[in-house]
């Protein structure tokens, strides 16, 4: 268990490299989550409360896109950002920004589909009242998001989980470049391919701990807010 000791040493000594990688992981995932939430939560809500022809198809596609393979997302973003691609002039390939873009594409359908379901349930309850009060459009969307905020955190955490655990897409568009785009998952993949399985597992444990902390923070805030409200 040499590698385990090694991993422990890295953590205990606050190894700069490890922390750089951890920090990049969390930064990329949180930014992607924030961007995605701004898109997907209103989208999911809008789909839950509006009726238009083709709505079912959109929901179906959104659900199916939850099963979009990360590698495919990675490839699409890669082709887009590649220097010979349409957005190549921006020089974003192999940067954290590219990884954020890929993750946004990946988790937006997930949060949208899940939040659609949550809001649909609330909508069954609120629909008549909102109709009666003439609450529509943006006001309705905001009201649903506010009132469903506790249930929505789980959707958001699911998106965060997918983002932070994701490797297939970020390795393609980020390139796993040391000190630039290496994140925890790509580092784990690298150690695995080097056969350093125990170190890889230890890094995985570190990542899970991180994920646990973020979840604890979010759920803690939710509980605190819920308690304050219904004390």
């Amino acid at each position: 268990m040499n590698a385990l000791a090694e991993a422990l040493r890295l953590i205990v000594t606050l190894d700069a490299d490890l922390f750089e990688i951890l920090w990049l992981s969390i930064r990329v995932s949180l930014i992607a989550l924030a961007i995605s939430a701004v898109i997907s939560l209103p989208l999911g809500t809008w789909l839950a409360i509006t009726r238009f022809p083709g709505r079912k198809v959109v929901i179906l596609v959104l659900n199916a896109l939850m099963g979009m393979p990360p590698v495919v997302v990675g490839l699409m973003v890669y082709l887009l950002l590649s220097r010979s691609g349409p957005l190549g002039w921006m020089g974003l390939l192999y940067t954290p920004t590219a990884m954020i873009i890929a993750q946004v594409v990946l988790i937006t359908p997930i949060i949208a589909a899940l939040s659609h379901q949550v809001i649909e349930n609330l909508h069954q309850e609120y629909r008549d009242t909102f109709y009666s009060m003439g609450v529509t459009g943006r006001r309705a969307i905001v009201a649903y998001l506010v009132d469903a905020r506790f249930a929505l955190t789980t959707c958001i955490l699911a998106g965060f989980g997918r983002a932070i655990a994701e490797v297939g897409a970020v390795i393609i568009v980020g390139g796993n470049i040391d000190h630039l785009t290496r994140v925890m998952t790509t580092a784990i993949a690298l150690e695995t391919s080097k056969g350093n399985l125990t170190l890889a597992l230890a890094l995985g444990a570190v990542l899970l701990t991180l994920s646990l902390l973020v979840n604890a923070l979010v759920i803690g805030v939710r509980e605190y807010a819920a308690k304050r409200q219904y004390a």
């Binding site: 309850e125 609120y126 008549d128 009242t129 109709y131 009666s132 009060m133 003439g134 609450v135 006001r139 009201a143 506010v146 009132d147 409200q229 219904y230």
Partner: protein, 236 residues
Amino acid sequence: MPDSLLPIRIRNLRLIKGDRAVLDGVNLTIEELGITVIMGSNGAGKTLLLRCLHGLIEPDQGQITLGNLTVADSRDQQAMVFQHPVLLRRTVLQNLAFAVPDIAKADPQQLLAALDSVHLADRANQPARMLSGGEQQRLALARALLSKPALLLLDEATASLDPASVLLIESLVKAQSKRGTKVILISHDQGQGRRLADEVVFMSGGQVAEQSPADQFFTEPRTPVAEAYLAGKILF
């Protein structure tokens, strides 16, 4: 005061659910201001009729006009209190503010006054869903009155209120009616009918069985069903 939505004309309204006609050709004209009370057995179609009038249900057949407006066009001059009011997961005051954002911005004092009128001022900052059954209904009524509707629809709005609250609500409704709001109210409470109604619409089996001035309805109803209903005779 908003435009009058009178006369309200309902022509041959039919609504099919499954294989039952739950509204089975409703014809009704309401010409006058004042308070119209709808009575009738459970399942007679009272709630469904009110929901059609409010635009919550699209009937399968028939038309409704309010003044020279359609249901859709008149919606923002209507307000409704539901049989089981739904309150937002917010405080009592926020529930009011959400319903009338303009007033909440321009004159927040008015919200507190409205709360006070239903004796809930001291509950302003409690979560609305923790109110007792009767308190929730009073809040829902305050919410509906704040929008100063031309047409106010009440679905058993006093069903779980204590006697004092019933009288309070009735006085608020009467006052609103005096100010020119047309009120249509569903109730099973004959006492309330006698106290409030200018006219009574009696429904039975998805149809309007009788429409009479209140004095006449309670003393000598024209239809046997209404007579049996008032006597509390079983007629399922």
